[in-house]
Symmetry: C2
Subunit: 189 residues, 2 copies
């Protein structure tokens, strides 16, 4: 087996996710993942620090895209509109990997340890969005509040997108959920 395998990272990630889905995350070994992908454990560890990283390494790109969306929003954009642009940018990359994202969500829902890890990642994402807003000159507590409310929208939209059999893309579900947030916050009788 040669040292450089084409698409090794992607093959390993897909094999890992399939095994986590079939047998559970805890029950799957790196040896089994490598075997399923037709690669060696050594190759696995050239791409991922451990089997959990297969599920969470994509978070770096997600965060970069979301933060980039906030940064690139037009100068006059209100804080919530800048966050909406960030969420939409993040939603686009998940949309491109819908099959992976949906299966990943199921694997995470089945493990308390992975759910905790996901909560921590979402909290980091909220903090990164708040940083990006402050860089745009948004003051506290507006920056933190807008970022956290945005993550609440993302969280709920993501769950709908994963669950629902409809054909809406994630950016569209995020837009709907944000409209819903506007309606519930405005809804004092």
């Amino acid at each position: 087996m040669s040292r450089w395998e084409p698409n090794a990272r992607e093959r390993l990630a897909r094999a890992a996710l399939d095994l986590y889905d079939e047998r559970g995350f805890e029950q799957t070994t790196v040896a089994e993942i490598a075997n399923r992908a037709g690669l060696t454990e050594r190759t696995f560890f050239r791409h991922f620090a451990d089997k959990r990283e297969v599920l969470f390494s994509g978070g770096v790109e997600l965060q970069e895209r979301m933060v980039g969306g906030v940064r690139d929003a037009s100068d006059g954009a209100a804080p919530m509109d800048a966050v909406a642009a960030g969420l939409a940018a993040g939603g686009e990359i998940l949309d491109e990997r819908r099959a992976f994202a949906v299966k990943r969500a199921g694997v995470i829902a089945a493990s308390a340890e992975l759910q905790e890890r996901e909560l921590i990642k979402l909290a980091s994402l909220a903090a990164a969005l708040a940083d990006a807003l402050r860089e745009r000159g948004v003051a506290e507590p507006t920056a933190s509040l807008t970022a956290q409310a945005g993550m609440a929208v993302f969280h709920v939209a993501f769950a709908r997108w994963v669950d629902e059999a409809n054909e809406l893309g994630l950016p569209e579900v995020i837009r709907e959920s944000l409209d819903e947030l506007r309606a519930v916050t405005a809804g004092t009788p």
Copy 2:
């Protein structure tokens, strides 16, 4: 030393928090906590399963009060107003224990493990508020979105209340933060 010590639980909790604050959570032993409180380790373990529970056992009452506030909101209350009533009810009990709550927040901020535990507790709280809204007949995704947005408000308000030298009570800071959320969500130019 008699088996039943007056105020043992409270004395242990205060001793534990002081030690966590002075030395760090990881560096404090149950023996030291018991010694500082003038009680035995045996007594500590009659009140708390472990040293982490000293920091998190109050979460049960907080959740009950918040959920009770949502349940007891008037029949015609909009979902966000029912959540606001729940947050205010939770804010009141923290207000009564401000010194403990502020010191506790500092201890948690100093430990990654405790921060993770706190995130998990806040996520459970959001889920409990969403349940309470569904019991009031609020449909999904409105229930989850309102509960999560409410927790975003609580999170930001709590941080302001802990940090600020002002004299505002937590229920008042929560009200201000909710008004701020209404302003940022309405703020499309």
